[in-house]
Structures are given as C-alpha cells and as structure tokens.
C-alpha cells in the first residue's frame, strides 16, 4: 500500500520536483496545493498519510497555522518545508508538534528519510493511543473499582466503577486514603462511605518501575454485597425448610398415632365380640370388621414406621436369626394370594447359617419386596435367592410381573409412587412400600439394585452388611413352614391345602353346566372329602353365571378360587 502525500508548496517548480522525487520512490502524491486554506480543505477531505507543508505560504494563513487547523480535525504526519533556518521560524514550528522539518534546498535521501520517519512515528503514536484507549475502556468497563494512587495517596487514575463507589466529584489529584474507607469487622470487609456500608473483597498491590522504585499503589475493590445477600437468603431458606420438614414429620407422627388409637379400640372390642354368643349373620359382620381393621392397621403402621425413620427415631436391634425362617414366615403371610394367582415360588437360596443382625428390619424389607412381587405379578413365578458373601447378605427377588420402564425406575422409590398411578387400582395399597425399604436399607448401610423389563418381570436385589453368628445352635424351630409346591401325586390328600384340591376338581367342571348344578357339585365334593364348607353367596353365583354365559373359563375359575379362599376365611374350618 502506497503512502499518500499531500504537497502544500506555493513555488510550483519546487512542488513538481518534490512530486517527481516522491513518485519515483514509491509514494503516491494525491495533490499539490499552494495555499493554507486549500491545504486544510484537501487534508480534511482526502486524509493523507503525510503532508509536506511549506511554512511560508501566500494567503491568509501560513503553513504552521494550517497545520494546527488540520491537526485539530485529522490525524496525519506533517513535515514542514522551510527555506529559513531562523530561530523564530523554528520555534514556531516546534510548538506545532510537527513530525519533522526539511530545509530547502534539500537532498533527496534527507527528504525520504524524514518522510519515512514521520510516517512511522505517526503510526506508532496511533498504536500507543489505541492501546491506551483499549486499556482505559477495559478499566472503565470492569465492575471492580480500580484506583491508582501515588506514594502520597494522590489519585493518579480511577475508573468509572470507582467513581460510582467513592463519589462523582472525586478526580485525579485528590487524596484517597483507603484506610479511611475500608474496614474489617467480624470476618467481613466493608467499604464505608458516608452512611453506606458495602460488603467488599479488597485487594491492593504496589507499583514499581524498572529500577524497583515504588511509584504508588493500585487498589481493587470488588463489590460482593449481592452475593452476601444471596447467601443470607439461602441460609434463611434452609432453616425454613428444616423447620417445615420437622413440623411435617411431627404432624405425620401425630396423625398416625391418632389413627392407631381408635383402631386399637375397634380391633380390641371386635375381638371381644366373638366371645359373646352371636348369631351367624352378626358373626360374619364381626369377621369383616376385623379384617378391614387389620388392613387399616397395617397401612397405618407402614406410615408410622416411615415417619419414625424420617425423624431419625428408629433404632437398630441386633439379634440372632435364621434367614430361611424369615423367608418361610413371609411366604406364609402371602399364602392366600399366592394360591389365588397360582404363582410358583422357587427358593434357590444357599444353605445359610444363623446370622446376627436386625431381624425385624430385614424382615420388613424382604416382606415389602415380596409383597410387591406378589402384588404386581398376575401369573407365573417368583424366584428368591439368598446368599452370604464377605459379611454381606445378598438377597434377590425376581418375578414375572408387569415390570416397569427405565423412566419409571428412578421414581419407584419415591414416596407414594406406584407404577400404575391411575385409578385403575388393580394393585391396591398406599405406596409407602419401596421408599420405606430404601430408608430401612439406608439405616442398615445396605443397598438395593433393580432390574426390570416391562411386561416381563422385575428383579430386586438387596445387599445388607451382616455377621454370621458364632453360636450356630438353633433354637426350637417353628415347624409350620409353608410349602407351596403343587406337584407329586405321592403325597396323601391331607398334605394339600383344601384350595388346591378343590381347584383340581373345578378344572374338571364344564362351563356349559348350569351354574346351580356347579354349586351343588362343588359343595358336594367338598363335603364328601371333608374339606372346608363352601359358602356361595348369591352375588358370586351371579358373577359366575355371567362368566359362563360369556364362555369365559378363566374368569370362571378365578371366581371359584375367590369363593374357596373367602370361605376359608369366613367359615373358618372343616366340616
């Protein structure tokens, strides 16, 4: 890029000569003007890189005046040409901040060197100004207050943020003694100005020149009042949340206690009723009341246990126990439901010696998981496997139930969440279960893993730190174990439960029979084999008749099973 030069010279021969020399040396002469006013005009419109200005010009203004006019408007190098070397002229020229002078007549190389230098200087000056501008812009735009002071605490520089902090009417030259404004109190640093106290982070550093002379200091003041306010707010919110939680827990505990008290009365009084002489109809009502109360009590207890954990009140009780016994016990509790759904139970557990741990909590955990497995499995099997490895009890329960998706996996441990949250309440219960399991496991330092495939099944695996008992002598065992296996015709009839026997008989029934006939057949069979007394209420027959009319054998069998199970409960015994 060629440098552009404007020649201001009233002697045309000199001007043309200059032009020739410049052009042959690679410069671009944009114009030649002969007076000051034209020079100013041209300079402003063309903005040359350099102006060769003759000092003595014809016209109202001379070169020096023209130069100062131009300098006011644009940035360019101006080199004066003069025929005179007198003091007066030179003095005048010096004041005007020229980039160089050339005395006429001039030598070509002198000309060229002066011009090059002038352009260079102008460009360096521009750069310095630019950098300076960048620096000032940066400093003025940062949020921190920056104040540079001399050794006598006189302000050399302060940025916009500092002006805002200290005061608009403060300026360079004023004294700024930081110790007057910055205080440390109770672990916090403040900037105090008049009545305003601001939380700040404060930092200062000394400025040295290259001879290691201390020139002054720079103060950096960072306003942290917003942060502090936020932290205070956060702390308040945390305390409020804790209080709310505690209030909620207390409330929950209170409510469940309030619920249990009348329940106990209901259950207690109800059981006393059975000791009185009552007729059959009243007896049935009494039975129903009892069952409903027991169910309610179970739910309330689950809720109460959960709130106990929540308030950190549940303690750990260590005792010896047999895991097999626990499992047997649990299976026994769910006997009816298992039979009703004809679920196959498989126990693949290792032979595990007596263990030492919190028996009740372990039971509650397994019971809860097993309850879910039974609840959510319409048909198929449930497999239990337990083992002890490296002081850890590992127990898994796998079912062929409805399972759940990846998305649901994360939320199943949430309180009150059931896989099927809609009103299609096939599965009953209030959903405290799994979150209770999680809490109990946390208490025992255990863990749980879950795997599931929708519509195929789920597997829950728990791990609980446990010890093997030194004393392996077992106590007198309860021999009433539940064995749900249905196979082996070698076993005499009495080994099977009545339900099983009757179910086999029902299978033989034809769906085309008249349902009254079916009632007769089944009741008769039960009587002759000395099984339970079957109780066919009229609404059952109605439902069975619907099933038969719709030729729904599965439904028919389901209803018959219900009848048998219900009969066991209500009539309670063999003939």
């Amino acid at each position: 890029m060629k440098n552009r030069i404007l020649i201001v010279e009233d002697e045309s021969i000199v001007a043309l000569d200059l032009q020739n020399r410049l052009e042959s040396n690679g410069f671009d002469v944009i114009d030649i003007v002969s007076n000051g006013s034209r020079a100013v005009e041209k300079a402003i419109t063309e903005i040359p890189d350099l102006i060769l200005m003759d000092i003595n010009l014809k016209g109202s203004i001379d070169g020096i005046e023209a130069a100062s006019l131009i300098k006011r408007q644009i940035d360019c190098a101006i080199v004066f040409l003069t025929a005179f070397a007198d003091e007066k002229t030179l003095k005048k020229a010096r004041v005007s901040d020229a980039s160089g002078y050339i005395l006429k007549p001039f030598r070509e190389n002198e000309l060229l060197i002066t011009i090059e230098l002038a352009i260079k200087r102008a460009s360096v000056k521009k750069k310095i100004e630019e950098n300076s501008n960048w620096l000032y812009s940066t400093l003025n735009n940062i949020q921190d207050a920056v104040i540079t002071v001399s050794n006598e605490n006189q302000i050399i520089f302060l940025n916009e943020s500092a002006r805002t902090l200290i005061g608009e009417n403060v300026s360079e030259g004023d004294v700024f003694d930081h110790e007057l404004f910055i205080h440390v109190e109770g672990g916090r640093t403040y900037f105090q100005y008049n009545d305003k106290k601001t939380d700040i982070d404060y930092f200062q550093t000394d400025i040295f020149d290259e001879d290691k002379t201390l020139l002054g200091k720079v103060h950096f003041i960072h306003d942290i009042s917003k942060q502090v306010a936020f932290e205070i707010g956060l702390e308040k919110a945390r305390i409020a949340a804790e209080n709310s939680n505690r209030a909620k827990s207390d409330f929950l505990a209170n409510v469940t206690h309030e619920l249990r008290t009348p329940l106990n009365t209901i259950i207690g009084m109800n059981s006393l009723i059975s000791e009185l002489y009552i007729d059959e109809e009243v007896s049935k009502m009494h039975e129903l009341i009892g069952q409903a109360a027991e169910t309610l009590l179970r739910q309330v207890n689950e809720l109460l246990e959960f709130s106990d954990i929540d308030r950190g009140q549940l303690k750990i009780n260590i005792s010896r126990f047999s895991i097999q016994e626990l499992i047997s016990e649990i299976l026994g509790t769910f006997k009816d439901q298992i039979e009703l759904k004809s679920l196959k139970i498989v126990d693949n557990s290792d032979d595990i010696p007596l263990l030492v741990g919190d028996k009740n909590k372990v039971r509650d955990i397994i019971s809860c998981l097993f309850s879910n497995a039974v609840k959510f499995t319409k048909s198929g099997q449930i497999r239990i496997r337990s083992q002890v490895k490296e002081n850890t009890l590992i127990l898994s329960i796998a079912d062929t139930g409805i399972g759940f998706s990846e998305e649901q996996k994360d939320s199943i441990f949430n309180l009150l969440m059931q896989v099927d949250g809609s009103h299609t309440r096939i599965f009953g219960g209030i959903g405290v279960g799994l979150s209770l399991v999680k809490e109990l496991l946390d208490l025992l330092n255990g863990s749980i893993e879950v795997e599931s495939v929708e519509s195929e099944g789920s597997q829950f695996t728990i791990r609980i730190p446990i010890d093997i008992s030194d004393d392996q002598k077992s106590e007198v065992e309860d021999n009433r174990k539940f064995e749900p296996s249905l196979s082996s015709t070698e076993n005499p009839l009495s080994e099977y439960s009545d339900l099983v026997i009757l179910l086999k008989e029902i299978d033989k029934l034809l769906i085309d029979d008249d349902y009254k006939l079916i009632e007769k057949k089944i009741k008769g069979y039960s009587k002759s084999h000395k099984l339970i007394e079957l109780n066919f209420e009229s609404n059952v027959l109605f439902r069975v008749s619907i099933a038969m009319k719709l030729k729904n054998k599965e439904k028919f069998k389901t209803i018959m099973k219900e009848v048998i199970v219900d009969s066991e409960k209500t009539t309670g015994g063999r003939l």
Binding site: T424, R425, N539, I546
Partner: protein, 133 residues
C-alpha cells in the same frame, strides 16, 4: 326393579347390597369389566338394570371408564337420554373432584361419598325416583 352394584371391597359390597335390597333385586360384581358385561347381558336378556351403583376406584377398568362404556353401549342400541340407566357413583376419596368430573360430564346421575350415610343414600334414591318396595 334390577339394580347392579359394582364394588371391589368385600365389606362394602355386603353393606351396599343390604341397603339397596329394599328397592329391588341386586346383583353384585367386583370390577369395571364385569359391570359392563353384566349390563350388556341384562339388555340382551331383555331385563335391563334401572340403577347402577358404582365405585370409581375399581380393578381392571375403573368406574369412569366403565361408565363411559355403558353409556356408549346405550347409545349404540338407540336409547334416548331419558331412558338411560340411572348411575350413582361412589367414592371414598377425600376430594370429590374425580366424582364431580364424571357428574359434570353428564354421564352419572348422582354421587355419594363413602362412608355412606344411610339417610343421604335414601335421599338420592328418592330424588332419582326410586321407592322402597
């Protein structure tokens, strides 16, 4: 007069049947699916139900859904609105919002909150035009 009771809780079933037997002969089913089947069969046998007492929370298909299916069936056999079966929805839920939803959609005739107040039930039955027999 035939009445269909749809209730999945054993105790409630017995209670409902006892209470409603004075109005007519009662059939009891335990889920939404049975309710719809029985309702349809009753029409096919030309002895339709005049009243359905149904709980909202039911297994298989819930009360709301069963109700919709019943109404849909009535439409398909060309019943006019005034000839449709009367339906009382029952619920043990604290807030009757779900009941009111069914009620407001015009599909149920009335609703009752459990535990049932006998006096309230009798009042509703009278309102719907049923008399003790």
């Amino acid at each position: 007069m035939r009445i269909l009771i749809v209730e999945d809780d054993f105790g409630s079933r017995v209670l409902m049947k006892k209470l409603l037997s004075v109005y007519g002969s009662c059939d009891v089913v335990i889920d939404g699916e049975e309710a719809v089947s029985s309702f349809k069969l009753a029409w096919e046998e030309k002895t339709p139900y005049s009243l359905v007492m149904m709980d909202i929370m039911l297994p298989e298909i819930d009360g709301q859904e069963a109700l919709l299916q019943i109404r849909s069936y009535e439409k398909s056999i060309g019943l006019s609105d005034k000839d449709r079966v009367k339906v009382i929805m029952t619920t043990a839920l604290g807030d009757p919002k779900n009941v009111v939803t069914a009620y407001n959609k015009g599909e149920a005739s009335s609703y009752i909150v459990k535990p049932v107040e006998i006096a309230k039930l009798r009042e509703e039955m009278t309102k719907l035009g049923f008399e003790e027999q």
